[in-house]
């Protein structure tokens, strides 16, 4: 039985083997973790599909492996060790932009065309029997001579059989891709990367960029290049909020939750998003449509040792402050340990980046595509404020809202910001009170929930 790289998450086509937890000849149980795979989003564990002995390991730590490729082979106990059919396929790099269209349909099509050509970049043939992709000997020979890996070619015939037309389409696609890449870099004026010899001016050391860093780099460049950013600044008063917090923070602590400013911000953001749904929307660039979301999933930027990761709290509108504070703490901890699942990292409709715990005032966060806005929080503190014509002091927090000016106008942003600052001041006892029954049910519910997630 071959152990393959599973479909990890949408858009994740490969990963790097970070640690091998088993050795050849070792017997393993079903679901036992065989190895850890670092993808551009998180560390995923690969469980054993069954009980048996590790017959052969085809990868080593540091290898980059594509979805669908064989990692190791497992033989049922008692059976002779089995040669795995195909070693893990190398990943073509760099990863192709997702916007490349699939190859145009062949010139001549059969009268009944039932299959569409899938974008070959993500396609990987999978056979549970471990057999090679179905193709006639002549096609296989041609592919071998051209150096085309048929595992990546989607067959259009009965049973997924690859015919000449499919190979032609694939080659045309590769060519189109090659040209569009040079074309786009020329258009955007990007110069080819050049190595600078920094050691001319002193001692240096070099370290490979981690996958996570590379992903952040690509994502940030893409967002910065394609989104016209504007950032709106304000200072939010926290006096009322902190008073309430003080009143309830001990209760929350007793109940096992820590009541932080971010928790309040989550709730205030949802209230404001409900009033200004355009900030919870996305642009569908393919259809020129605005997609309004009926859900409120908020991404929280978390600073980890390796770099920025943005896990998502789902359906914030349906959760109370207690539930949110528990979930926030759990998610942040799992993110720092790189234990979040792929699911935890997807589907945000708006993002919050809080630097308050570190320091600084206003900053200009970059909108995380396909979202259209992001809220940046600075460090709060006692500042002079004018109240009723007199200068006094107040606890304020610098807030900054970056938005996609393609979709959102300045007026909307100013209104959003005003409403958001008001929402922070309008919390009441009712929002914070822990009712006995609720609290205990929460207590029970939460660990269960996290257990469930841990299993995934």
């Amino acid at each position: 039985m071959d152990v393959r790289v599973p479909q990890l998450a949408e858009g994740v086509t490969s990963g790097t083997v970070v640690s091998l937890l088993v050795k050849e000849g070792e017997s393993v149980k079903k679901e036992q973790t065989l190895l850890e795979l670092e993808t551009n989003k998180a560390v995923a564990t690969i469980p054993s599909p069954g009980e048996g002995t590790i017959a052969k390991i085809l990868v080593s730590e540091g290898d980059e492996v594509a979805v669908g490729s064989v990692l190791m082979s497992l033989s049922a106990d008692g059976a002779a060790p089995v040669e795995a059919s195909q070693p893990a396929a190398a990943v073509p790099s760099p990863s192709a932009p997702a916007s490349i269209p699939a190859p145009a349909a062949a010139v001549q099509q059969s009268p009944v065309q039932t299959t569409t050509v899938q974008a070959p970049v993500t396609y990987q043939y999978q056979s549970l029997a471990g057999s090679p992709p179905p193709a006639s000997p002549s096609i296989r020979k041609m592919a071998f001579q051209l150096g085309i890996d048929l595992m990546r070619v989607k067959g259009s015939e009965n049973g997924g059989r690859i015919v000449l037309e499919d190979v032609k389409n694939y080659i045309q696609f590769l060519q189109a891709k090659a040209f569009s890449e040079t074309g786009s870099s020329a258009a955007s004026g990007t110069k080819p990367a050049k190595t600078v010899d920094f050691s001319k001016w002193g001692e240096v050391s070099r370290k490979k960029m981690s996958r996570l860093r590379r992903t952040i780099s690509e994502q940030m460049s893409d967002c910065w290049r394609t989104i016209p950013h504007v950032t709106q600044f304000d200072d939010a008063s926290l006096d009322a909020l902190m008073k309430l917090r003080k009143k309830y923070v001990e209760d929350y602590k007793k109940a096992g939750a820590s009541l932080t400013v971010t928790t309040f911000v989550l709730k205030a953001v949802v209230d404001t998003l409900k009033k200004h749904p355009i900030f919870n929307a996305s642009i569908d660039e393919a259809t020129d449509e605005v997609v309004y979301k009926e859900y409120y999933n908020l991404g929280i930027a978390v600073d980890t040792d390796q770099g920025l990761i943005v896990p998502v709290i789902r359906n914030v509108d349906r959760k109370n402050l207690f539930e949110l504070s528990l979930e926030l703490a759990d998610l942040a901890a799992r993110t720092r340990d790189r234990k979040v699942s792929m699911d935890d990292l997807q589907g945000a409709s708006f993002t919050i980046s809080n630097q308050g715990g570190i320091g600084g005032t206003h900053f200009t966060p970059i909108v995380n595509k396909p979202e259209v806005a992001i809220l940046g929080l600075g460090k709060g503190g006692i500042k002079p404020v004018v109240k009723d014509g007199k200068i006094t002091t107040g606890l304020t927090m610098p807030v900054a809202l970056s938005y996609d000016h393609r979709l959102i106008d300045g007026g909307s942003a100013a209104r959003f910001m005003t409403d958001f600052c008001l929402a922070l001041q309008n919390f009441t006892d009712a929002d914070l009170k822990l009712t006995g029954s609720k609290q205990s049910s929460q207590k029970k519910a939460s660990p269960n929930k996290s257990k469930k997630r841990g299993k995934k």
Binding site: S75, V82, A129, P134, P137, F144, Q145, G160, R161
Partner: protein
């Protein structure tokens, strides 16, 4: 001393070697073919596939005549003239061998008869009847094949202890013949001698004869052996042999008991060993494995950049058609066309009575590797064609990938299975699905219909068989 230069030298003129020499010549190369025997064709043609099939044909004639009385046809006891039979068999070999020689001539392939010895990785010396010849080559293809194994304990220098080579010469029809080894060679030759009147005892060390084939495919062969042979002893071991006058005394162990019996002749068919000795391979970079087969990659290349190896000498399955395919692969890589043996389907055929043939994935292999497959079996009792010649002891089986209906393997037992399997090879090589096979019209009445009908059976609608309730069981009842 004669010095010759050539582009390609092929050592060994068996089905791998002469195919390689001809193919290289067809690609415009200057080719020299070296053969140590006086005739071209190798073991296959002279001492293997061809003579054994000729004798099996004769054997079949005898047994069919014998079994025809219920059809209302009766023959007298056959009179066997061994000299004439040998002559007939040899005439076939001669015809084929001459054919190969003339095919080589027409391609300007120079044949040098003599033993080849590598002086280095660009020179081979040949000991010919006219003296030594030194050939300087650019590329060499080693196709020197294998020979029957004869364990030292059995090698008494007594001609009554035979390997397949001697058995095919049918010097006599022994009254009592012991066949040591129940592989395909032992089974085929045991069948020949049994048909001609020998009392055959077969000894096999493993649990079953024809190990490696799916058990349901060899069941009819076992039934035949139980009837035609005096005895088949599995899990039995021959301990020693000794000459005792005109007989061989054999000590063996079977079911915990030691016995000592007398046989008129013994056929030792316990496998084959490579001919890699005494050919100067140590003067090249060619590497051998533990069993002395030459190590090659999927392009038939050895560790010596100038030398390829194909066929039996390169290990794997020891079959002529595998050698012929490797001849193509080796030559294509020599002339600069990339070519690989990866994912090539090599069918196996055992010419027993009935024949057994299979290709691609077998059920046994699927089970060993934990691969989930579906298999459908069409019994020949439901084949009209099989009934017409009273051989319903057959079975056609498809091994199918459940998610795609793709045919991963085909297994057939029955009369002419060796001819039928080629359609299975085509199906597996083409990545055909069971639907493809079911949708292709097969002529009636032929045995090939069993392939179509087993594919139909997979979908539950074969005309001549009825699927039982649960398709997973894939059992059929003959109509």
């Amino acid at each position: 001393m004669i010095n010759i230069e050539t582009e390609v030298v092929v050592v060994g003129a068996g089905p791998g070697g002469y195919a390689a020499a001809f193919y290289a010549a067809d690609h415009g190369k200057k080719v020299i073919l070296i053969e140590r025997d006086e005739r071209l064709g190798g073991v296959c043609l002279n001492r293997g596939c061809i003579p054994s099939k000729a004798l099996l044909h004769a054997a079949k004639l005898i047994s069919e005549a014998k079994e025809s009385s219920f059809r209302g046809i009766e023959f007298a006891e056959p009179k066997i003239n061994l000299d004439k039979m040998r002559e007939w068999k040899n005439s076939i070999i001669t015809k084929l061998s001459q054919g190969i020689a003339s095919l080589g001539q027409r391609r300007n392939v120079e044949v040098i008869y003599g033993r080849g010895y590598f002086e280095g990785n660009d020179t081979i010396r040949v000991e010919t009847s006219e003296g030594q010849k030194f050939i300087k080559y650019q590329k060499a293809i080693i196709a020197v094949g294998s020979k029957p194994a004869l364990p030292a304990a059995f090698d008494l220098g007594n001609p009554r202890i035979m390997t397949s080579t001697e058995a095919l010469e049918i010097e006599e029809i022994p009254q009592k013949l012991l066949v040591v080894g129940g592989g395909y060679i032992g089974m085929e030759l045991g069948t020949v001698y049994a048909s001609m009147g020998s009392e055959v005892t077969m000894v096999e060390a493993m649990d079953s004869i024809l190990m490696g084939a799916d058990p349901d495919l060899i069941r009819p062969v076992k039934d035949y052996a139980a009837k035609a042979f005096k005895e088949v002893r599995t899990k039995a071991k021959v301990l020693s042999m000794a000459t005792q006058k005109k007989q061989i005394s054999v000590k063996m162990e079977h079911e915990g008991k030691a016995t000592e019996e007398l046989y008129d002749r013994v056929l030792v068919s316990v496998g084959r060993v490579p001919n890699s000795d005494d050919m100067g391979l140590e003067n090249t970079k060619v590497q051998l494995d533990a069993k002395k087969f030459i190590q090659v990659n999927d392009r038939c290349q050895t560790s010596d950049p100038n030398i390829c190896a194909i066929g039996d000498i390169a290990g794997g399955v020891l079959l002529a058609h595998k050698a012929a395919k490797e001849a193509r692969i080796a030559v294509e890589n020599i002339v600069g066309e990339a070519s690989t043996s990866k994912d090539v389907i090599i069918p196996a055929v055992v010419f027993t009575d009935p024949e057994v043939a299979w290709c691609g994935l077998t059920e046994t292999e699927a089970k060993q590797k934990g691969i989930e497959v579906k298999s459908v079996k069409f019994p020949w009792s439901a084949s009209g064609r099989a009934l017409t010649f009273d051989r319903t002891d057959g079975l056609t089986k498809l091994v199918i990938e459940p998610e795609t209906d793709r045919i991963l393997g085909v297994g057939i037992v029955g009369h002419g299975a060796g001819e039928l399997i080629s359609e299975g090879v085509l199906a597996v090589e083409m990545g055909a699905t069971a639907k493809d096979l079911a949708e292709s019209v097969h002529p009636h009445p032929t045995l090939s219909e069993t392939l179509m009908e087993s594919a139909e059976l997979f979908y539950g609608y074969a005309t001549h068989a009825v699927m039982r309730r649960r398709p997973s069981e894939t059992s059929v009842a003959a109509s």
